[in-house]
């Protein structure tokens, strides 16, 4: 393992930890603006997490080690998954760090343990959340894998850092098809981070209870970890999308100025995407749960169309 790789891991983790709550706040801010409100401060999510860390944890008497291990395991799997997506600096990796298949399955690992934790306390809401989250993940998976296979197909590699390197080396988009892939990736981002029209991250009503339902029984430091993990997921998927489609500014060699530029570029690109997410969320209502499959089917057909265009072009 060379020094570059270790530095890459450290820098990437620090950046994702530092920046992810910001993106969450940004989306909230944009949504507030479109509704004519001032909205929370951009640092509200940091404050929420800090406050949750100082609160006590309450466990249900029915709950087991699943609830206790869940925050740590889901945080760990998302942090490891964040290593797979270069945010500000890209270098060659070893041992399958960056493997696109493993990336998908690390997300699945965090979802699996969260769904079990949702059932653990015996609350009907947790079960409802788990049930819906797992169902949604199951029906979006074909689209997800097709999009990721298209990426692997376009860049001729299974490794995400290599994809980003290629994208950065070419400066602009490698293939025009990538614009279409970006749209599919955006839909995946909306679904994976539980946003409107699939889920609503802001409410605890039964109607929208998917992700929030699962974590309803979590409290204190455990809830802080879960919220942080959700923020990291948003940041990682945002990073994946912006760095593949607009690879502008990402550092390929280690230098202080290069990294500084890259961080600024990431914040700017990420904020732009957060703005788009906020506007997208504000422009539509939450869909009824059983209308989602047709939405996903549309996403699937769209991705397949992209592939057919790519294969025969």
């Amino acid at each position: 393992m060379n020094i570059d790789l270790i530095l890459y891991c450290v820098i990437n983790t620090l950046v994702v930890l530092a920046i992810s709550p910001l993106f969450v706040s940004l989306v909230k801010k944009v949504k507030a603006w479109t509704q004519g409100r001032r909205g929370p401060s951009l640092f509200q999510t940091y404050a929420t997490i800090r406050k949750l860390l100082s609160k006590e944890v309450i466990y249900s008497p029915a709950s087991s080690w699943v609830t206790r291990i869940c925050p740590y395991l889901s945080m760990a799997s998302l942090i490891v998954a964040s290593l797979f997506v270069p945010l500000v600096f890209v270098t060659g990796t070893v041992g399958g760090i960056g493997n696109i298949i493993l990336f998908l399955y690390l997300l699945a690992l965090s979802r699996f343990i969260m769904a079990l934790a949702g059932l653990d306390a015996g609350s009907p809401f947790g079960g409802m959340g788990s049930s819906r989250e797992m169902s949604i993940s199951a029906i979006i998976e074909p689209t997800m894998i097709i999009v990721f296979a298209t990426l692997a197909f376009v860049y001729r590699t299974l490794n995400i850092p290599d994809m980003v390197s290629i994208a950065a080396a070419q400066g602009t988009m490698a293939v025009p098809t990538l614009i279409l892939v970006a749209i599919s990736l955006f839909i995946l981002l909306i679904v994976e981070t539980s946003r409107i029209p699939v889920d609503n991250p802001e409410t605890h009503l039964e109607l929208t209870m998917i992700h929030e339902g699962m974590v309803l029984e979590q409290s204190g430091r455990n809830l802080a970890l879960m919220e942080y993990a959700a923020a990291i997921k948003l940041a990682v998927l945002t990073g994946l999308l912006v760095n593949l489609v607009v690879p502008l500014g990402i550092a390929t060699t280690l230098s202080v100025t290069g990294l500084a530029v890259a961080v600024i570029a990431l914040v700017v690109k990420g904020s732009a995407l957060a703005g788009v997410i906020g506007l997208f969320e504000s422009s539509m209502a939450k869909k009824r749960f059983f209308q989602l499959p047709s939405l996903f089917a549309m996403a699937f057909f769209f991705s397949t169309l992209v592939i057919i265009i790519e294969v025969f072009s």
Partner: protein, 653 residues
């Protein structure tokens, strides 16, 4: 003859003799001492399986080839054994599952009914394992079929152990019919091969007529598919597994269905030169089984029935890998073919380990709660902590979660998909993309299925009295699953290293590194939280929406959990609404009483199995009309037959 025969031949003989001893011993025992003979017999199984493990390890590492002939019959038929790397790999699967199952069995057998039946079950278990060992060691098709039949017969007696129940007898009949159908097709395939080449040797077929070769392949493929439980030949699994004792299910689902995979691979690799469309056939069968199998599994609420359907899914995944292997071989991509084949083989091993682990632990759960209905369980995680931890490992493994072994083999098949797409021709690309989408669907649906299984069996509050009073099983029933769980973790975490040791450097992630990272990050997060965050912890009741205390009836049930997926895939389930209404008056105006129920249609049973069965009955009825128990009629038949014979002989040259 291999150079290590002086070492491998005695080992093989010792294993076979130990299994024979295990078969005969319990039958000799009488009276009070039977118990010891049962333990002795299962001890023989453990020893034999351990010896086989050593034997297969030697052959896998050195690449040695063990070949010998027991005795020769006339006409080219002989009993000969040939063990190469492929056979040795499947011997390894047999031994890896048999040891823990036998250990578990020694604890489980105490709770089974009937002492003389217990002796028989020990004896048949050994015979069954022996038959499977001999099938994979067969050097010619004659012995292959002979042992195949032995395997079918001995497993039938294990399935009908609990014959006093009607459901078991039904399951036994279905199993017997399907397994004989499988044997029939295998026999047909072997006979066609014999007609084409004139020998029973397992060797390539140069110059054999293409039509015969294709017919032989189709027959063998059908035969092996029935045995493996590929949809639409899967119906025996969800009947036979719930009916048979759990260790037997573990052996049948973990090992026996893999023997069918072995058969398919053996004939594809050694005998045939596969064509492209064979690959498509296997690929389509595999994907169909994977997706439909897991969709049906989601609907099951009998824990062993659910595991049986999950086996169908995993066999589908293995067949998908085999199909890719054939496709890539036929299109001239040897590296990708190797990755796909290794994926299929590795998944055979991993599914064997994880599924027998799940069958054994679910056997413990059934032992503790006296029900197979998952809606009657719940809350077992605090009552059976070890069993639940082992079940968790098995479930996570089959849900393909990193870093466990189910992921390690699925990632191989997925890598074959991903890396093949840029290099094949356009139409194949599109096909592979769709295959990939279905494969991914099956993989995530299995995660849903195991969230349901683990969630409803082990988590939340107990849903019945029996579940409330459940307690942990004895040590022997924990030791077996413990071995399997450890094996699941080791083969998953060290998959990359194991493959390098076997001589394959493949572009798959190094799970050891990733596991270290995961553990390291978890430890780091824990330490950080421990020192920075508040440590106060309290226990408080779950909020029950206004109920004073949470009740099991308010919990989310297993049915409820899988309901969204069931609604989304409702066209596949085909439910039927059955209503009966009775009225007071003739004109059906005044309603008296009625019933209504939503019944799940068993599509394959109603549209494939039953029509075939009815046609068979009709034909039999027609033939039985010739049999009227009247001597005159029979004399007439004889007379007509003689006339026909004379005419035939007279006209033929």
């Amino acid at each position: 003859m291999g150079p290590l025969d002086s070492m491998t031949l005695p080992l093989f003989t010792a294993a076979v003799l130990a299994l024979l001893a295990g078969t005969v011993l319990p039958l000799l025992a009488l009276g009070e001492h039977r118990r010891y003979f049962h333990t002795l017999s299962l001890g023989c199984t453990v020893i034999a399986a351990a010896v086989l493990g050593i034997l297969s390890a030697i052959i896998l590492v050195t690449g040695d080839f063990l070949h010998f002939t027991l005795f020769t019959l006339g006409n080219g038929a002989s009993f000969s054994c040939a063990i190469d790397k492929l056979s040795a790999f499947f011997l390894l699967i047999i031994s890896a599952v048999s040891v823990p199952v036998a250990i578990y069995f020694s604890g489980y057998i105490g709770s089974m009914e009937g002492t003389s039946r217990r002796s028989l079950v020990c004896s048949f278990t050994n015979l069954f394992i022996l038959a499977m060992v001999l099938v994979v060691s067969s050097g010619d098709t004659f012995m292959f079929f002979f042992c195949w039949e032995l395997m079918a017969a001995s497993s039938f007696f294990l399935v009908v152990y609990d014959y006093t129940r009607e459901s078991t007898r039904n399951a036994g009949i279905i199993y017997f019919f399907m397994t004989q159908l499988s044997s029939l097709f295998v026999l047909l395939g072997i006979v066609i091969l014999f007609c084409a080449t004139g020998s029973f040797a397992m060797a390539p077929l140069p110059g054999a007529p293409a039509l015969l070769v294709t017919a032989a392949f189709l027959c063998l493929f059908t035969g092996f598919s029935i045995k493996a439980g590929v949809i639409p030949f899967h119906k025996w699994l969800p009947y036979a597994h719930p009916a048979s004792p759990s260790p037997v299910s573990a052996l049948m689902s973990g090992v026996m269905v893999k023997i069918a995979v072995y058969g398919l691979l053996r004939f594809l690799v050694t005998v045939f030169t596969p064509e492209l469309w064979w690959g498509f056939l296997i690929f389509a069968a595999g994907l169909g089984s994977a997706v439909l199998g897991i969709i049906y599994a989601l609907k099951e609420h009998d824990i062993k029935g659910m595991l049986a359907y999950s086996s169908i899914e995993n066999i589908g995944i293995i067949f998908t890998g085999v199909g890719l292997f054939v496709i890539f071989t036929a299109t001239g991509l040897p590296l990708l073919a190797t990755i796909a084949l290794l994926g299929a083989l590795f998944h055979s091993l991993n599914h064997a380990l994880a599924k027998s682990l799940l069958f054994l632990t679910s056997g413990s759960v059934v032992h503790a709660t006296h029900t197979r209905e998952i809606e009657q369980m719940g809350g077992l995680i605090n009552r059976m902590p070890y069993t639940s931890a082992f079940f968790f490992i098995g479930a996570a493994s089959l849900a393909a979660l990193p870093p466990l072994n189910g992921f390690a083999s699925e990632v191989l098949i997925l890598t074959a998909f991903f890396t093949s797409i840029p290099v094949v021709d356009p139409l194949l690309k599109i096909l592979l993309f769709f295959g990939l989408a279905l494969f991914a669907l099956a993989s995530t649906l299995s995660a849903v299925c195991f969230v349901k299984a683990f969630g409803s069996v082990f988590l939340a509050l107990p849903r019945s009295q029996a579940s409330e009073k459940a307690s942990e099983v004895p040590a022997t029933m924990l030791a077996g699953p413990a071995i399997l769980a450890a094996a699941c973790v080791i083969t998953g975490v060290f998959a990359y290293q194991i493959l390098i040791f076997a001589g394959y450097v493949l572009p798959i992630p190094d799970m050891f590194l990733i596991s270290l990272l995961l553990l390291g990050v978890m430890a780091l997060v824990y330490i950080l939280i421990h020192y920075t965050a508040s440590r106060s912890t309290r226990t408080g009741e779950t909020w029950g929406c206004g109920l004073d205390a949470p009740r099991p009836s308010a919990e989310y049930t297993g049915h409820g959990l899988s309901e969204p997926v069931e609604i989304i895939f409702s066209p596949i389930y085909r439910t039927r609404i059955v209503q009966t209404r009775q009225f007071f008056d003739q004109k059906h105006c005044i309603y008296r009483e009625g019933t209504g129920e939503i019944r799940l249609m068993k599509v394959f049973e109603e549209y494939l199995y039953l029509p075939v069965a009815r046609a068979g009955l009709k034909l039999a009825g027609f033939i039985s009309r010739f049999q009227n128990n009247c001597l005159d009629t029979y004399l007439l038949y004889v007379f007509l037959a003689v006339i026909a014979l004379i005419l035939f002989l007279g006209w033929s040259p």
